[in-house]
C-alpha cells in the first residue's frame, strides 16, 4: 500500500505433523504394502508403517500440540510428531 513502510513481517511458521499408527496396532495398509514389495523384487523389507503428513502454517506453533490432540490425530490409535521449519 502506498505510504506504508515495509509490511509487517509474516510471523507464521511452517510446520509438519507426521501421524502414524501407534505401535502395537495392526497397520493393515503397511502390511499390504510390505507383502506387495517382494512381488516387484524388493526383498528384505519389514516393518512398513503408513501414516500421513500434514503441512500447515501457523501463527502460534505452541498450539499445534493441542490441534493434534483434538483433531489432527486420534491419540487413542495414532502417534504424532511435530517439526517446525526454519524460515
Amino acid at each position: 500500500m502506498p505510504g506504508c513502510a515495509a509490511a509487517a513481517p509474516d510471523s507464521r511458521v511452517r510446520a509438519r505433523v507426521l501421524i502414524r499408527p501407534k505401535q502395537g496396532i495392526l497397520d493393515a495398509q503397511g502390511q499390504t504394502v510390505e507383502r506387495a514389495l517382494p512381488a516387484l523384487g524388493f526383498e528384505g523389507v519389514s516393518n512398513v508403517r503408513i501414516g500421513r503428513l500434514i503441512e500447515l502454517e501457523v501463527e502460534d506453533p505452541a498450539r499445534i500440540r493441542e490441534m493434534c490432540e483434538r483433531l489432527l490425530a486420534n491419540p487413542l490409535i495414532e502417534d504424532y510428531e511435530v517439526s517446525l521449519e526454519e524460515r
Binding site: 496396532i25 493393515a28 495398509q29 483433531l71 486420534n74
Partner: protein, 221 residues
C-alpha cells in the same frame, strides 16, 4: 414416541434408518446444520461417509451444529444410536469409548453376520433375550473396533459390550469380537452392523427391527 435421524453431507443410510424407525414410531430427518433436535425422543446417527471421511472417518462430523445438540442430549441421558459411520462419529466425538480402524483385510466388506445380544438390559436391546442371535448385514471398510486392553476389560465388566460377533464371524478383527458398545451411562450405543437393513423379510432378515422396536418401547421423554 419420535425418532430423529441425522443427515450429514455424505450420509447414505438415513432413509433406511427412517423407514426402520417408522415401523414402530414417528420419525423425521434432522439436518446437520441445525442445532434443533425437534423434540425427538431418540436420535439415530446413520451410516454413510459423512463429510467425505476427510482426515479420519467420523472426524469432521462432530463439529456440525447438530452434534452439539446431540452431545447435550446424550449428556442428559437421551438415547442415541450410531450405526456404522454413526458409530465412528460417536467415537470421534468422545461420546463412545474406543476407535474404529481399517479392517484387517483392508477391504470393503458387505456380508450378513450373526451377532449375540450380550446385554439385553439396554434401551436398545430390551425386546431381545440375553444371548439371542441376530442376523444383520455389515458393510464397511473401517469397522475394526479398538480400545486399549484395560479399557476393554472395563467395558466388559460394566456391561457396555452389548453386541458381539459370533465365534468365527468377526468380519474385521475387532477386539474381543465387539460389534456394539455403549457409553458408561448406557444411553449411547454404537454398532457396525446395520439393523436398519434387516427389518423386512424381503432382504432376508427382520432381526434388526428389534433394536428399533426396543427404542420405540421407551416412554417418550
Amino acid at each position: 414416541m419420535k425418532f430423529g435421524v441425522v443427515r450429514f453431507p455424505g450420509s447414505c443410510d438415513e432413509h433406511d434408518a427412517l423407514l426402520a424407525c417408522r415401523r414402530f414410531a414417528d420419525a423425521e430427518l434432522l439436518w446437520h446444520g441445525e442445532r434443533d433436535l425437534k423434540g425427538v425422543d431418540a436420535v439415530v446417527i446413520p451410516g454413510g461417509f459423512s463429510y467425505g471421511d476427510y482426515l479420519r472417518v467420523g472426524a469432521i462430523a462432530r463439529f456440525s451444529p447438530v452434534m452439539e445438540a446431540v452431545g447435550e442430549w446424550a449428556a442428559a441421558g437421551g438415547p442415541v444410536l450410531g450405526i456404522c459411520n454413526g458409530f465412528q462419529v460417536l467415537c470421534e466425538a468422545g461420546l463412545l469409548p474406543g476407535a474404529l480402524l481399517v479392517n484387517a483385510e483392508l477391504r470393503f466388506l458387505c456380508r450378513q453376520v450373526e451377532v449375540e445380544v450380550v446385554n439385553a438390559e439396554t434401551p436398545f436391546t430390551s425386546t431381545c433375550d440375553p444371548g439371542e442371535r441376530l442376523s444383520v448385514p455389515v458393510k464397511h471398510t473401517t469397522g475394526r473396533y479398538f480400545a486399549p486392553e484395560l479399557e476393554l476389560d472395563e467395558l466388559e465388566r460394566s456391561g457396555q459390550v452389548v453386541l458381539r460377533y459370533l465365534p468365527g464371524q468377526n468380519p474385521n478383527d475387532s477386539r474381543r469380537d465387539i460389534a456394539g458398545v455403549t457409553n458408561r451411562a448406557g444411553n449411547v450405543l454404537g454398532l457396525m452392523p446395520h439393523p436398519e437393513h434387516a427389518v423386512d423379510a424381503l432382504t432376508g432378515s427382520t432381526d434388526g427391527a428389534r433394536i428399533f422396536e426396543s427404542l420405540a418401547s421407551l416412554s417418550p421423554a
